[in-house]
C-alpha cells in the first residue's frame, strides 16, 4: 500500500458489503418506497440459487451483508439464510418494517448475534407514520424496537423525511433514545421508486430541510456518546456525482439475482443466476466508467425526473 495511492475498488478482490433485497413482497404500500415493493418479483432466485450466492459470499470473505426487501420477514427461509451467514461469521443487518417481529422472532434474532436490526419508523406518533406507510401500524413498529431491545438485539431506526413528518425529527430522535436503540439514520428523501412518482406531495421544501438539519445538528450534540445520530446531508444526485468518481465496494442484489450498481441508477452489471459473484464484481468495477453510465448521470443532473427510472433495469453486459 502506498500512502500516495489511496485504495479504490480496483484494489479489492471482492466487495466489502452486499445489500441484498431478498424479496419484493411487502405487507405495506409506502408512498416513498424506493423499490416499489408489494408484489412478488417474477423469476426470483430459487432456494438452491440463493444458497449458492450465500456460499460465494462466504468463500469471497465478504465481511458484511444487509438483508432488506420488500419486507424481508415475509421471505420463506430468511432465518436459514441468516443462520448460514452467521455460522460463517459474516456480519449481518436486517432492514425491516418490524411488523412481523414478535417475541419469538426477536429471540431468534438475538440468538443470531446480528450486527443490527433496522426498523423503519416514519413518525414520532402513529399519524404521519401510517399516512406514509399505507397499511402500516406504528404500534407494531415501535413494539418491535422494544422487543428487540429487550432481547439484547442491536436495534436501529431509519426515518425518511417528507412533507408529512419532517417537523417530527426532534421528537422521533428523543423517542428513539427513550426506546434505548443503538442509533437513528436519516437524510433527504430519495427521488426513486414510488417516492419519485409521489414527489410533489412528498418532497419537503428547502426551508423545511433547513430546519430539519438544524435540529439534527442539535440532536447530534445532545446525544453524543449516548446514541448514534447519523444523517447524510446530501441528496441522491450529490451522492451519484461522488460515486461516479469513487464507487463504493458494495453490490446491490435484487430478488431475481440481478445486481445493480446502486439503487438510484437503473444499471445492472450482472446476474447471479448466470454468473459467479466474483465475475459480477469484476463487471461492477468497470461499469461505472462506461459511457452509458456516465452519460446517464449527466442527464440525471439536468433532469432529476429521470430518477423515476431507477427500477427499469438496463443491462450493461450481454
Amino acid at each position: 500500500m502506498d500512502k500516495n495511492n489511496i485504495i479504490n475498488i480496483n484494489d479489492l478482490e471482492a466487495p466489502l458489503f452486499i445489500a441484498w433485497q431478498i424479496n419484493a413482497e411487502c405487507n405495506l404500500g409506502c408512498l416513498h418506497c424506493c423499490e416499489e415493493a408489494g408484489h412478488s418479483m417474477p423469476d426470483k432466485l430459487s432456494r438452491d440459487e440463493t444458497f449458492k450466492v450465500l456460499e460465494q459470499i462466504v468463500a469471497l470473505k465478504i465481511p458484511y451483508v444487509a438483508f432488506s426487501g420488500g419486507e424481508p420477514l415475509l421471505h420463506p427461509y430468511i432465518f436459514e439464510m441468516c443462520e448460514f451467514l452467521r455460522k460463517n461469521s459474516i456480519d449481518l443487518k436486517i432492514e425491516t418494517n418490524g411488523e412481523y417481529i414478535d417475541e419469538k422472532k426477536a429471540e431468534r434474532f438475538a440468538s443470531l448475534n446480528l450486527r443490527s436490526v433496522q426498523i423503519s419508523l416514519d413518525g414520532a406518533t402513529s399519524v404521519a407514520h401510517e399516512k406514509l406507510r399505507l397499511g402500516g401500524n406504528w404500534n407494531k413498529a415501535t413494539n418491535a424496537c422494544k422487543l428487540l431491545k429487550s432481547k439484547g438485539v442491536n436495534t436501529e431506526i431509519v426515518f425518511v423525511p417528507t412533507k408529512f413528518n419532517i417537523h417530527e425529527i426532534g421528537q422521533i430522535i428523543d423517542f428513539a433514545y427513550s426506546l434505548g436503540v443503538y442509533g437513528i439514520y436519516t437524510g433527504k428523501i430519495m427521488r426513486i421508486g414510488r417516492a419519485a412518482q409521489n414527489w410533489d406531495i412528498l418532497c419537503p421544501s428547502d426551508e423545511e430541510y433547513k430546519e430539519f438539519f438544524t435540529t439534527l445538528n442539535e440532536k447530534l450534540k445532545q446525544y453524543d456518546g449516548k446514541m448514534k445520530v447519523y444523517f447524510y446531508p446530501y441528496d441522491v444526485l450529490e451522492e451519484l456525482k461522488y460515486r461516479r468518481m469513487s464507487p463504493a465496494a458494495s453490490l446491490l442484489v435484487i430478488p431475481n439475482g440481478k445486481v445493480k450498481l446502486i439503487g438510484p441508477l437503473p444499471f445492472v452489471c450482472g446476474n447471479l443466476k448466470k454468473q459467479t459473484l466474483k465475475q459480477v464484481w469484476e463487471n461492477y468495477k468497470i461499469s461505472w466508467q462506461k459511457p452509458q453510465v456516465q452519460e446517464f448521470i449527466d442527464r440525471l443532473i439536468k433532469e432529476p425526473k429521470l430518477l423515476a427510472e431507477s427500477n427499469k433495469w438496463v443491462e450493461l453486459f450481454h
Binding site: 465481511p63 458484511y64 461469521s89
Partner: protein, 83 residues
C-alpha cells in the same frame, strides 16, 4: 488485546482491509500492519510482536518498535481493538 466484536479483516494484495461493520468504518493497512493485526489476534503482547517481527524482517527491535507501537495506538484510537 483483540479485535472488537464487529471488526472483520480480509487479506488483500496491498495488505489487509479492517472493517468495523458496526460503525461502518473501513480501514486499509499494508503488509506490516497486517502482520501486527494477525499477531494481536493470536494474543501476542506488544513486546512479543516487536520481537517476532524483528526476526521476520531482520531488523533490530529498537528500529521497528516505535512503528509498531504507534500502529497499535492508531488501532486503539479508532476503537478497533480492545484491551
Amino acid at each position: 488485546m483483540k479485535l472488537k466484536k464487529f471488526v472483520k479483516t480480509r487479506d488483500e494484495k496491498f495488505g489487509e482491509v479492517i472493517f468495523d461493520t458496526l460503525k461502518e468504518k473501513v480501514f486499509v493497512t499494508n503488509e506490516t500492519g497486517k502482520d501486527i493485526v494477525d499477531l494481536l489476534q493470536q494474543g501476542y503482547s506488544s513486546e512479543n510482536i516487536v520481537r517476532s517481527l524483528s526476526d521476520l524482517y531482520n531488523k533490530e527491535p529498537a528500529e521497528i518498535q516505535n512503528d509498531i507501537l504507534s500502529f497499535i495506538d492508531s488501532l486503539k484510537n479508532n476503537s478497533l481493538i480492545e484491551v
